[in-house]
């Protein structure tokens, strides 16, 4: 009997570890706890990838997870246009605005700076892959101190849902390339990956004020 109990407990522990504990090291939330931001300003990302639209695809998929995590998220397109109207031509320039200017005109508690490293769809002989990969830094707008960082990285392969045969691989690649020519997979993948980064239970964002504690996960 005791052995049974032990076995079940071990299985439970293993399941929990495998299912949830992707990372064993506990993220240090001290600076985050100290800052306790209510609002987040997302600066249009610096784009280091070859996909020219990466920053804007990213921008369209970042408000939702941050807001659903309980934060006020400044309207991304309004901010982008406001900066443009004030003479900043591209995300690289927007990332160099001094904090005091941001505080004077926008007034966020925290600022999310993002750099995109790799982004887009790649077509290969037996596979077509969609990749999104970005690095995030959250800064306290008053002190300039970094309070959190994360990566949002993911890829989707046309082979993911296929049977293993060669014909299956070929058909999968063709179907995905046709679909890819009319609709870009990156917004969908970016949505999923950003959601995963914000809501990661080990190193994601802490809950913001609009998320009630009892809906905490």
């Amino acid at each position: 009997m005791l052995n049974h109990v032990k076995l079940v407990l071990l299985t439970v522990a293993a399941l929990i570890l495998a299912g949830c504990n992707q990372q064993q090291v506990k993220y240090d939330y001290a600076a985050f706890e100290n800052s306790r931001p209510k609002s987040i300003l997302v600066i249009p990302p610096v784009n280091n990838s070859i996909e020219v639209n990466a920053s804007y695809i990213f921008l369209s998929t970042i408000s939702r997870p941050l807001a659903e995590k309980g934060y006020y998220v400044f309207p991304v397109a309004v901010i982008e246009q406001f900066m443009r109207n004030n003479g900043l031509q591209d995300p690289a320039e927007m990332n160099s605005i001094p904090l005091d200017k941001i505080n004077e005109h926008i007034g966020p508690d925290a600022i999310l700076y993002v750099s995109i490293e790799n982004w887009g769809q790649k077509y290969e002989v037996f596979d077509s892959r969609t990749i999104v990969d970005s690095n995030w830094r959250l800064i306290d707008a008053k002190t300039g101190q970094q309070i959190w960082d994360g990566t949002a990285k993911g890829q989707y392969s046309s082979n993911d849902n296929n049977q293993n045969g060669l014909i299956g691989m070929l058909v999968g690649a063709v179907i995905n390339q046709i679909a890819g020519s009319v609709s870009d997979n990156t917004p969908m993948l970016s949505q999923q990956v950003n959601q995963g980064t914000v809501f990661n239970s080990h190193n994601g964002l802490l809950n913001g004020p609009y998320l009630k504690p009892d809906t905490d996960s």
Binding site: M1, H4, V5, V8, L9, T11, V12, L15, I16, G19, C20, K38, S39, N53, Y56, I57, L59, S60, T61, S63, R64, A67, E68, G70, Y71, Y72, V73, F74, P75, V76, A77, V78, I79, Q81, F82, N85, N103, E104, H105, I106, G107, P108, D109, P187, Q191, F199, S201, Y210, L211, T215, S217
Partner: protein, 118 residues
């Protein structure tokens, strides 16, 4: 018997600990698509189309008894301003500020700029 209780307990733990919650705070409707299209397919996202879509999202939010998501009223205000409808632009921006006081500094800046451009 113990084993069974433990298994149930384990299932409950897993369900609460890992399962993604399906209760969203807001109704997002077309907002992400609107932002995507205004940059990537500008021909399909003229200001009036954006106004129509965001207005519908706001109505649907209200019909669902949800608070309108952060940014929607401000985005609507920006589009009204683009259409030269400054009274509606101002009204929408003020709604953003009323609903989300965190936006106060930004909205005041935008309103000041709007006044300055007349």
């Amino acid at each position: 018997m113990y084993t069974r209780t433990l298994t149930v307990l384990a299932a409950a733990l897993l369900a609460t600990g890992c399962a993604p919650k399906n209760t969203s705070l807001y109704h997002w409707g077309n907002y992400e698509g609107v932002v995507h299209d205004m940059y990537l397919k500008p021909g399909e996202a003229p200001a009036q189309t954006q106004i129509d879509k965001i207005t519908r999202d706001i109505q649907e939010s209200q019909a669902q008894g949800k608070r309108v998501a952060p940014g929607l009223y401000a985005h609507l205000g920006m589009m009204y301003a683009a259409e030269g409808q400054s009274a509606q632009a101002r009204e929408s921006l003020l709604k953003e500020k009323q609903l989300y006081p965190e936006s106060t500094v930004l909205i005041d800046t935008l309103l000041k700029n709007q006044q300055g451009s007349h």
